[in-house]
Symmetry: C2
Subunit: 148 residues, 2 copies
DNA sequence: TATTGTTATACTCTATAACTATA
DNA sequence: TATAGTTATAGAGTATAACAATA
């Protein structure tokens, strides 16, 4: 667990604790969703956000996910090529484009979502409901520190 | 904060909460330490771990940080070129090499560590001591899920 | 002028296979 | 044969500047 190393100095820092917790979370995602479905975390997030939110724009996705606009373009290009999402220009403001799931995208998302539930159980199997709620609340409080 | 998007579906997942919390933590690190001192997170972690731990090996660093060995080689090359660390072969087992800070590395680490304290206060200014302790404990419990 | 989104580019990160050298 | 570390490489992530189209 400590890998024979004294990590006490680093474990005083929030960023390091986040990075360490991200390791098993990321690996489990890769094993259960990433490799089987060919989805990266950002892609999974996009499918989910677009599923819930009607008429999401590039900009809002970019902001929410913390992915710079030019990079998001590449990701969306890939998702569109795979026919998982489609982009349509807004009739009101032709600069904007709405991103929506295709039927194929909806199907893949449904599958991924189901696996994600299993993933959560795996990751948090040793947590009580209270601990889980507390952890999520505190992480969201950190996230709320974000300025723009 | 929610950026006008309904993120409820994603916020049910630990990985997303971690990723969202990582955004301000990462940005603050970049602003306060990364840009001013020319240090990336991994490099800062290495300086800190090597400072505390005498005779750390490449392998143990690789495991602790979750960085694959070949990639760590590159990072250590860079740190060595900047004369922040030095690598010395073990006399007992010539395959292993111990990584140590140079005086220059120690000086830079001291500076970084001082800034890191400020960074923590900034990030966690709205947290009580109890909340902070709880958050760290829960994150470490997640990290402990790691297998190898 | 300001905003949305794209193109181009450069740099970094991550993962894997193949290698050297020691044991 | 197994382990520590390196080289090489391909793919993915990240950041920035410059641009086109629209408002």
């Amino acid at each position: 667990m400590s890998h024979g190393l004294d990590q006490s100095e680093m474990l005083r820092l929030l960023g390091y604790n986040i990075a360490q917790a991200a390791i098993p979370a990321y690996r489990l995602f890769e094993t259960l969703i990433g490799l089987p479905l060919g989805l990266r975390q950002v892609e999974f997030s996009i499918l989910t956000l677009v599923d819930t939110n009607d008429k999401v724009t590039h900009k809002r996705l970019s902001t929410a996910l913390g992915v710079a606009a030019p990079n998001l373009t590449i990701v969306l290009d890939r998702l569109e090529q795979r026919q998982l999402v489609k982009r349509t220009r807004s009739p009101h403001d032709a600069r904007m484009q709405y991103i929506q799931l295709t039927p194929k995208g909806r199907a893949l998302h449904a599958k991924a979502k189901q696996i994600a539930d299993t993933m959560e159980s795996d990751l948090l199997s040793h947590f009580s409901a209270g601990e889980r709620a507390m952890l999520f609340e505190l992480l969201q409080k950190v996230a709320a520190q974000r300025r723009p």
